[in-house]
């Protein structure tokens, strides 16, 4: 009986025992074909999905390597059927290839006639195919390239896209590495992407995805369209690009609700692109406005469905997806795979954190007991009101204050979902509030002041969830949220995960009302964080030690319960 670190489950999940001496090499061996699903303290869970196997195949791994890794590191015998299934699945990728034929243009070719026949008879695929050129080749109209790939993936025969890309209009872009250097993993990510042509780079929040984008642009040296989630994130990109590359302010345009600039490098928001008037997308021209050489999708996991449809038409342009996770709450991972491209690089959070690029974070759940009046209100409330009542309980206020008092020197964010509560907190804590109606100008001003350390505490609504860079926020206090979404959790955690100048520890507090829906949702978040490998501690508000007291932050890192 071998004694490997890996246990293969019948549902194709892999359990990796982290403390095992071989766990590191095993992790390296399985990472190409298995998605990390959970990474709690002792045993990490990976999942082998068809997409993951095809990603591996696209990256040049073959079935033999996969089977060998499974058999070599597995502690227990691996069922033969599972290995056969893995090999069969991998074998499906690459039977079909999209290529450029010098005579016929874009063609679908195969190494296996039966497969070509099968897909050409499929109702979903057939309408996108053109004339049959010979037994192994079928012409494809270039406009169907994306949709065909989508359809082929759906019928289980993903095509490898080797049809190449247009160069786009050349534009000189250089990285300006005078006072900084691309980190090793960022360089690897760019190399992986460039070698593969198009695809997705998976890096945790705070690991410098923007720089990977910039480096890819420097590689392409062509006009670039960057799609981001919102205006603030767009400005953030612009700032980074000006600082880190040879690009100047004039070369970078903003295409948002406020401004419609088209420049060699244009940053557009998802929202403006998906704006419709009378049922028609108003800004589709943007994609044809320039001969783009590269399209960068920031936060691919949030890419709205209409943009997928548009992206299907852009298959001849290089596409780079940047994201912290391939998991989409809407389950459209397969569209990301077929339309943007396979995963080209992936580094687990914990590893990058261990390299010191992300601040280690400590997660603390503070439990507050409601007073009798609040309990009564909660008990008689309508079901849809219950969460709001629990989350916005006034009993939380003194506790929040106490938490903030523990970190007088740090930059602190208080994050909530209910505007009344935020206003109240702002007033009580004497801190400015940023919410949906705050103007971009006002936001920029407050963020600048926060970055400069003039403001110590900011109260923010969920508008701050995405892509604003608050590098010095070392403490986040979450007071209410949207029903424990995984996505939200990752984003909020990302707020405090940005590298700290002095490597200080980040703190992520959640204040919840005991024995209510609030603590139920907190349990979901807790599970998510624990699965991400973060230490999670539950503290009773009464036991929360203040600064300098026994168990306070100056004495030990973790308050005990």
């Amino acid at each position: 009986m071998s004694d490997g670190p890996l246990i293969v489950q019948s549902d194709k999940t892999l359990l990796l025992e982290v403390d095992h001496p071989q766990s590191k090499e095993c992790r390296a061996a399985i990472a190409p074909f298995a998605e990390l699903e959970r990474s709690p303290e002792h045993v990490h869970t990976y999942r082998v999905t068809p997409l993951a196997l095809w990603n591996a195949r696209a990256a040049g791994h073959d079935a033999e390597q996969v089977v060998d890794a499974l058999v070599r590191y597995s502690r227990y015998p691996v069922p033969h059927a599972l290995l056969v299934d893995v090999a069969d699945t991998m074998d499906r990728f690459g039977r079909l290839t999209l290529a450029n034929n010098p005579v016929h243009g874009l063609v679908l070719t195969t190494t296996d006639r039966a497969v070509l026949t099968e897909v050409s008879r499929s109702k979903k695929v057939a309408p996108m195919l053109g004339a049959r050129i010979d037994d192994d080749t079928i012409a494809v109209h270039p406009s169907e390239r994306g949709r065909l790939k989508q359809a082929l993936l759906k019928v289980g025969w993903p095509a490898e896209d080797l049809a190449g890309y247009v160069d786009g209009q050349a534009h000189p872009i250089e990285l300006d590495q005078a006072d900084w250097h691309l980190r090793d993993y960022q360089q690897e990510a760019v190399d992986g992407f460039w070698a593969g042509g198009s695809g997705v780079v998976v890096l945790p929040c705070g690991a410098g995805k923007t720089l990977v984008g910039a480096a890819a642009m420097a590689e392409a040296k062509a006009t670039t369209l960057i799609l981001v989630t919102n205006t603030v994130a767009g400005r953030q990109w612009k700032r980074e690009l000006i600082a880190r590359t040879s690009l100047t302010e004039d070369e970078i345009g903003e295409y948002s609700g406020e401004r419609k600039e088209i420049r060699p490098v244009t940053i557009a928001t998802y929202q403006v692109i998906t704006t419709r008037r009378k049922g028609e997308y108003r800004h589709l021209d943007l994609f044809d406005a320039q001969d783009w050489g590269l399209i960068v999708y920031d936060e691919v996991h949030l890419l709205p469905a209409p943009i997928f449809r548009l992206t299907a038409d852009l298959q001849s342009r290089r596409r780079l997806g940047l994201t912290a996770t391939l998991v989409r709450e809407d389950g459209r991972e397969d569209d990301v795979f077929s339309l943007i491209g396979p995963k080209r690089y992936d580094a687990p959070w914990r590893d990058i954190e261990a390299q010191g690029y992300i601040a280690p974070a400590e997660c603390i759940e503070v439990r507050v007991s409601l007073d009798d009046e609040e309990r009564m209100t909660y008990a008689v409330a309508e079901p849809e009101e219950r969460y709001r009542i629990a989350a916005t309980a006034h009993s939380k206020l003194p506790v929040i204050r106490r938490v903030l008092d523990r970190h007088p020197e740090e930059q602190k964010l208080v994050i909530g979902a209910y505007l009344d509560q935020l206003e109240e907190l702002g007033a009580a804590l004497d801190a400015p509030v940023i919410q949906g109606s705050t103007t971009n100008r006002e936001r920029e001003k407050l963020f600048d002041a926060f970055r400069a350390g003039e403001i110590k505490t900011l109260v923010v609504s969920k508008v701050a969830n995405f892509s604003i860079d608050l590098p010095e926020a070392a403490v986040a206090v979450q007071v209410s949220g949207t029903f424990g979404s995984r996505q939200e959790e990752a984003q909020r955690l990302g707020r405090v995960l940005r590298p700290k100048a002095d490597g200080r520890q980040a703190h992520f507090y959640t204040v919840v009302s005991r024995d209510t829906l609030d603590s139920e949702y907190a349990a979901h978040r807790q599970r998510f964080l624990a699965e991400q490998g973060y230490a999670y501690t539950i503290v009773d508000a009464a036991d929360l030690a203040g600064r300098g007291e026994v168990n306070g932050p100056d004495w030990v890192d973790e308050p005990s319960d």
Binding site: L15, V43, T45, P77, H80, L83, A530, A535
Partner: protein, 748 residues
């Protein structure tokens, strides 16, 4: 080898049998066990029994293509009897001697130097060597007739001359018969008609077409290429499958314990239940069906419940799950091997278009165990680590028993099942499979010992509230974890998740929060995460605020003083009353008893209608009432050595007595039913006389019983069995002897 000195060659099968040694006769009985039951009284009886068409067919079915080809040569010979030398010459290069041994051992050929085929064997082989019947009258000019055939006709002729002389006339979709080569041949007499649709190529033409190979190519054993793999690797993969199979059966039964599946009116389990179980197991429906069927075959799953209409884990399951992994697996594998159910039929539509359900009685096929064994035995013939592709295996099996080739359509399905169980990996037999064939269930368990992981006695508790059992768990821990946590993923390891629901379930089952803390601390090798302790405490704090109990009856009154009086009254003590709330007393005794006690004590209570009063008892774990260890019926039991010896002795004795004693044949009717048996039985029915019946049941067990015959007809005797005290139906052909009771006060 004959025991008698060389004398003139025996002239009949019976005479030849008489010359055989006891060992040879014994071997014959073993090879053709159907003739040994009931025991023939003498050699003539044996010869008669050997001539029964069913018996001949059964014996022929077991022969391989090479041996049958040797038989074909004898059958096609124009002379009566063929010498060994001529046989060898007819099939150059074929192992003729060995084939002749096989045939004579089975009495399918008889004779020492010159070999004869018994008439029933001739009748049983319809197309010897794949040639049609002789045409009568014989064609005058065979070569000349054949020369008239054009290319199309020639192609038809050559096809029919190859293996199967019978062909079907083409019919177009309007049902009319288009003129074609076959019809032209038919008109010219080159083909003969069998019936409206089928034609046959007469033997004369077939032989001419075959030229110098009248018996077709020599049918030697195919030697397909084998794929070789390291037996150790192979065994590990098999063990993986074995582990998975055992795990799935366990999961299935746990799922059924929680929520039993209903019995369909037509028998079996509904598709809805099958889908539900597939979902619970995380497998597709066909796999779920297989797991259910295997669990049932192994006696772990049976009908139970108050109305015997639910599929439930049986008591056998309780024993099974306590056993070590190898034993658990072996029980499944052995049960599968002997099961008469063709699992692949589940989900298929039968001829009426009705889908066959899991566990449905429609899936029984009595030939299946034999096919399973044959296919595994074929693989066992290969060296360890060598495997065959399915097509090659099929070719080999078709050669081994060509007359049963139609059964082998099952092979791919059965092979897949064997792979699922870990008996076969990639067409090669695993050690477990070898063990099973060689040593049955015990052999199988021994063969996989050391391949399957040792059980672990701990889990790893993680901050995300999952508990990971890094291997199969010891039974006790597995049971406890099933209560306090939910299974999230299984396989080599098991991932459990503790949730508020699972903690509540544990508290309901009588655990206290302290016990749970203690259990987690003991079971986990990693420190118990704080979140887990909080979860237990959180749920425990809420648990038990509402109380539910069961009572049998209550006493209520608006007069609280009266109730207090009743409660403190010594005379009403037998009613076992206690106060539940002001104005309500309750008792664990039924209402009528409480009423009686109170009346005796001098009160005037009135019964109250039961509206609203709930009588419940905490439910026990439901179990099927099937006999522990019993399995669904499997085939007839094999002959044991003593039986064979005794039978041979009997035949010899009967034989020597045959010449001397010829009287009173009816008193001991030999197995073949005679007119006198029927006459005797008929008389017993008419005169209402009791008889002693010697009877052999379907399993081959003989018995002797006193029966009062009631009716006789259609080959069956209905009678009242005195011993069993019930009315029974006896098949007349299984009656071995009849004695009138009055003739003979006691059986011999």
């Amino acid at each position: 080898m004959a025991t008698t000195p060389p004398t003139p060659a025996p002239a009949t099968l019976a005479a030849w049998l008489r010359t055989r040694s006891d060992e040879q006769l014994g071997a014959l009985l073993v090879l053709r066990p159907d003739v040994a039951r009931p025991a023939p009284s003498d050699v003539v009886g044996l010869a008669t029994r050997l001539a029964v068409p069913v018996s001949v067919d059964r014996a022929l079915d077991e022969l391989d293509a090479g041996t049958l080809q040797v038989l074909d040569v004898v059958l096609l010979a124009t002379t009566d009897g063929v010498s060994r030398a001529d046989l060898a010459a007819a099939l150059p290069g074929a192992p003729v001697e060995a084939a002749v041994e096989l045939l004579t051992d089975r009495a399918l050929l008889w004779g020492d130097d010159v070999l004869h085929a018994p008439e029933p064997v001739r009748r049983a082989v319809k197309h010897p060597a794949g040639l049609g019947r002789l045409r009568t009258p014989p064609p005058a000019d065979v070569e000349g007739d054949l020369a008239t055939a054009d290319d199309d006709e020639r192609a038809v002729l050559e096809t029919l001359a190859r293996e199967n002389p019978v062909g079907r006339l083409p019919v177009d979709n309007r049902g009319t018969a288009p003129a074609g080569p076959a019809r032209r041949l038919l008109q010219r007499g080159l083909l003969t008609r069998i019936d409206a649709a089928n034609v046959e190529l007469p033997r004369q033409y077939g032989l001419a077409l075959r030229g110098d190979q009248p018996y077709g190519p020599v049918r030697t054993r195919p030697e397909p290429p084998t794929a070789q793999r390291d037996p150790a690797v192979l065994d590990r993969r098999a063990a993986g499958a074995a582990l998975e199979a055992v795990g799935r059966v366990g999961e299935l039964l746990t799922a059924l314990e929680e929520d039993p599946a209903g019995l369909l009116r037509s028998g079996g389990m509904s598709i809805r239940d099958q889908k539900r179980l597939a979902k619970a197991l995380g497998v597709d429906e066909s796999v779920a069906a297989f797991v259910v069927e295997v669990a049932h075959a192994a006696g772990l799953l049976d009908l139970g419940g108050p109305h015997r209409d639910e599929w439930l884990p049986s008591r056998g399951y309780d024993t099974w799950r306590e056993q070590p992994l190898p034993e658990r697996w072996a029980q499944l594998a052995a049960a599968w091997l002997d099961s008469v159910r063709l699992i692949a039929l589940v989900g298929q539509r039968d001829q009426a278009g009705k889908a066959v359900n899991v566990l449905s009685p429609d899936a029984v096929r009595h030939t299946v165990p034999a096919v399973r064994r044959v296919l595994l035995e074929a693989l066992r013939g290969l060296p360890a680590g060598h495997g065959l592709a399915t097509d090659d295996l099929l070719a080999l099996l078709r050669w081994q028993s060509p007359r049963r080739a139609d059964r082998f359509v099952l092979v791919p399905d059965l092979l897949a099942e064997a792979e699922t169980l870990g008996l076969v990996v990639g067409g090669a037999l695993s050690s477990g499979g070898r063990g099973l064939l060689a040593g049955g269930e015990e052999g199988a368990a021994d063969a996989v010992r050391g391949l399957l992981p040792e059980p672990v006695d701990h889990v790893l508790a993680q901050p995300d509230l999952s508990l990971i059992a890094p291997g199969p768990l010891v039974a006790e821990l597995a049971r406890t974890l099933a209560t306090v946590a939910d299974v999230e993923s299984s396989g080599g390891a098991t991932v459990f998740r503790v949730s508020d629901g699972s903690v509540r379930r544990a508290l309901d089952a009588g655990w206290s929060a302290a016990e749970l803390h203690d259990f987690f601390a003991r079971a986990s090798r990693t420190p118990v995460p704080q979140a887990l302790d909080y979860l237990v405490d959180d749920v425990a704090r809420q648990h038990g605020r509402l109380r539910v109990g069961a009572i049998e009856s209550y006493v209520r009154s608006d007069d609280h003083g009266l109730l207090s009086q009743v409660l403190s009254d010594k005379r009403s003590a037998p009613a076992e009353l206690r106060r539940l709330a002001p104005g309500v007393l309750v008792s664990g005794l039924p209402a009528d008893e409480v009423l009686a006690v109170l009346r005796t004590a001098g009160y005037a209570p009135a019964g109250e209608s039961s509206g609203g009063a709930v009588l419940t008892r905490p439910p026990g774990r439901p179990r099927a009432t099937a006999r522990p260890g019993t399995r669904p019926p499997t085939g007839p039991r094999p002959l044991v050595a003593e039986e064979v010896e005794a039978t041979v002795r009997e035949i010899r004795a009967g034989d020597s007595a045959l010449a001397a004693r010829r009287e009173d044949a009816a008193r001991h009717v030999p197995g073949v039913t005679t007119a006198s048996t029927l006459e005797l039985l008929g008389r017993a029915v008419r005169e209402q006389r009791q008889v002693w019946l010697g009877y052999v049941d379907a399993q081959g067990s003989g018995s002797r019983r006193a029966v009062q015959p009631l009716t006789l007809g259609g080959g069956f005797l209905t009678g009242y069995d005195e011993g069993k005290a019930e009315q029974r139906v006896f098949a007349v052909h299984r009656i071995t002897s009849v004695d009138l009771v009055d003739d003979d006060a006691r059986p011999e």
